[in-house]
């Protein structure tokens, strides 16, 4: 079984995000980058599936991103992924989901696949679009926000729970299929130390747009990011102080009614 896991290089959740001077990206100096958290669930599910199906099953990671993405790709290899394709081209700086899905579709088709796992969204720009556009390009079913994944014994179809507001929805999809993973699907493993030492020997096939048969970067679709703006500042905070708590509460109630006009 040929299992593809998608991965994206994103800023660490703990990183302090500052917008760059041109307003078209973030300042990367001093920022640590990690595997998109939701992609880790996909990697784990892919590895578990390989362990379950056995035989000559193989997990291949596919990552489109700048040169520095090698670091997160190696981490996936250290977790147990067999090999990787790294799509890297200067023309892909700040790409749209549309562009990325187009190049991923090409690379994944060249690799061949039975099942694709990815995160439900990137924790950086929160678009949550790539997987759906990709499903469309590959003309295969998609199941988003999966929290439970099982494969039928004859390997013909997947049975999944997907998280919806207030509960889960149980769905069935025929293979090949693309599944976007939600928190709770599994507990991603740590890269083991022997795994880290082995990662260097695993193959990363680097491909640029020409290698994938593109003359130029694919169209970015119908929307365009105009500018990045910092988080709007929160409103002024007013501390209510009084000798007795009771008086403070009275004053707070008055302010809520008369000044804020919310009660």
């Amino acid at each position: 079984m040929k299992i593809i896991v998608l991965l994206k290089r994103v800023p660490d959740t703990e990183a302090k995000i500052l917008i760059n001077q041109d307003g078209n990206g973030i300042r990367e100096d001093g920022v640590k980058f990690i595997i998109n958290t939701y992609d880790e669930y996909g990697i784990e599910e892919g590895l578990r599936l390989k362990e379950k199906v056995g035989g000559d099953s193989k997990v291949t990671a596919v990552c489109a991103g700048p040169e520095e993405s090698t670091e997160v790709i190696r981490t996936a290899l250290a977790m147990g992924v067999d090999d990787a394709v790294h799509i890297c081209d200067p023309a892909l700086a700040k790409p749209s989901p549309f562009t990325i899905a187009e190049v991923l579709a090409k690379a994944i088709s060249e690799e061949g696949f039975d099942i694709i796992f990815c995160g439900k969204q990137g924790i950086d720009d929160d678009m949550a679009q790539t997987q759906s556009i990709l499903a469309e390009k590959l003309d295969i079913p998609q199941v988003n926000n999966a929290t439970v994944f099982e494969l039928a014994d004859d390997l013909s179809k997947a049975v999944l729970n997907r998280r919806i507001e207030g509960g889960d929805e149980k769905v069935e999809a025929s293979l090949p299929v693309i599944i976007s993973c939600e928190k709770g699907l599994n507990d991603p493993r740590y890269a083991s130390l022997p795994g880290i030492m082995k990662a260097k020997k695993k193959e990363i096939r680097v491909k640029n747009l020409a290698d994938l048969g593109f003359n130029e970067a694919p169209s970015s679709g119908r929307s365009r990011v105009l500018k990045w703006l910092p988080m709007p500042k929160g409103g002024e905070c007013k501390m209510v102080e009084a000798e007795e708590t009771v008086d403070a509460v009275k004053e707070l109630a008055r302010l809520l009614r008369e000044e804020a006009k919310v009660v």
Partner: protein
């Protein structure tokens, strides 16, 4: 000259950090309170390769050398000194002797399960009358043909109550090496082996320290480590690596202290200003930062030298001496910044303050490190 971690070393650091954030830091206070490292946590660390990180893969290790070991201990030391001490006693001093001096059979039989974390190791040198003057054990070993008959005991042995395999220092009686020191590999199941008193301690309370008693204990002849009567060499070589690892855990604790106290100073307001806006506090933070940079620099330079196969007797003593003393100054300042809150068990800095103190004592006190450094300086041909 290059001064960066390799890609693998960086991945190792990230991975251990993640493990520490998710699994270790959340239970560090409990480890201290219950005076025990959970079995499941030890099993998980074994599974991930932590317990044999420095040794080559053919002996069950991860092949990441002393530098890799120090990177791991720095991250572990940030969260839990008890766990770092457990790992240090097991691997750095409890297994390294077998790696450096063991025969191929001894390595297969003992080092492999130790490195894989299937067995736990310990280092048994100290006795009631042999502390700093460590290489004068009163525990005796008599050659009885196919075995040594061992009598005596050890004190203050980290992991002593639950370890499986002990690198044990003894004095030969009779025979050609009468009065000289040897090292034996002792298994906990040997007849005549007994665990004595478990110490109550001020710090690293999650790391068990116990007495060992040997009564007519028979140790097979093939368990002699290195050459008979040449135990001093084993002791000195093993402690060279132990002292680096100790410096690494101290570095981690120092980094964490700076992080916690800086965050606190940026929140807490007194005299109408954040603590971080008072110059008196800023100078503390500056000092801590300077000492951490020193610790980091000498530690990783020495670890690198060690991995290059250079002799680091003087340097590892400098690392041990400097890092343990600097950490004590750093946790003291960090606690001071927390004021009264730092003295309460509400904040981890209280535990870190208690845990720091032992570093100036075990694996050779500060005074003993100075003796080693001075001896080397006085014998040096080129200063």
């Amino acid at each position: 000259m290059e001064w960066t971690f390799t890609e693998e070393q960086q991945m190792l650091k990230d991975m251990v950090k993640k493990f520490v954030d998710n699994e270790l830091r959340p239970v560090a206070a409990k480890i201290d309170e219950e005076k025990k490292i959970p079995k499941e946590l030890i099993a998980q660390m074994a599974e991930l390769g932590f317990l044999g990180i420095a040794f080559p893969p053919e002996y069950g290790g991860a092949g990441m050398g002393e530098t890799g070991y120090c990177i791991m201990q720095t991250e572990i030391g940030r969260a839990c000194a008890s766990t770092a001490t457990f790992i240090g006693a097991h691997q750095s001093i409890g297994s390294s002797g077998i790696y450096m001096f063991g025969t191929e059979e001894q390595k297969q039989k003992y080092l492999v399960p130790l490195a894989e974390g299937k067995k736990i190791g310990a280092y048994a040198l100290t006795e009631t009358s042999a502390g700093s003057d460590a290489y004068k054990p009163q525990t005796t070993a008599e050659d009885k043909g196919d075995h040594y008959l061992v009598n005596g005991g050890k004190i203050f042995i980290t992991n002593g109550s639950f370890a499986d395999i002990f690198t044990t220092f003894v004095k030969m009686v009779g025979g050609p090496n009468d009065g000289k020191m040897s090292v034996l590999i002792v298994e906990k199941d040997y007849e005549g082996f007994k665990v004595g008193k478990i110490e109550e301690k001020m710090g690293i309370r999650g790391s068990e320290t116990s007495e060992l008693i040997f009564e007519d204990m028979k140790v097979p002849k093939e368990n002699l480590l290195g050459r008979e009567g040449r135990g001093l060499l084993v002791g000195m070589k093993v402690l060279n690596t132990g002292r680096l690892g100790l410096g690494a855990a101290a570095l981690g604790a120092a980094q964490e202290s700076l992080k916690l106290s800086t965050a606190y100073a940026k929140e807490r307001v007194q005299f109408g200003k954040k603590l971080s806006q008072h110059q008196g506090i800023q100078w503390m933070l500056a000092n801590m930062s300077m000492e951490i940079f020193n610790m980091e620099s000498i530690l990783y330079r020495t670890a690198w030298m060690y991995d290059q196969g250079q002799n680091v007797t003087r340097e590892s003593s400098i690392v041990k001496l400097y890092c343990s003393e600097a950490l004590d100054r750093i946790v003291d300042d960090a606690l001071q910044i927390f004021g009264g809150y730092g003295f309460t068990c509400e904040f981890p800095i209280e535990r870190m303050y208690r845990d720091s103190r032992i570093n100036r004592i075990f694996e050779g006190t500060s005074e003993i490190q100075k003796m080693i450094i001075a001896r080397d300086v006085l014998h040096a041909r080129d200063l």
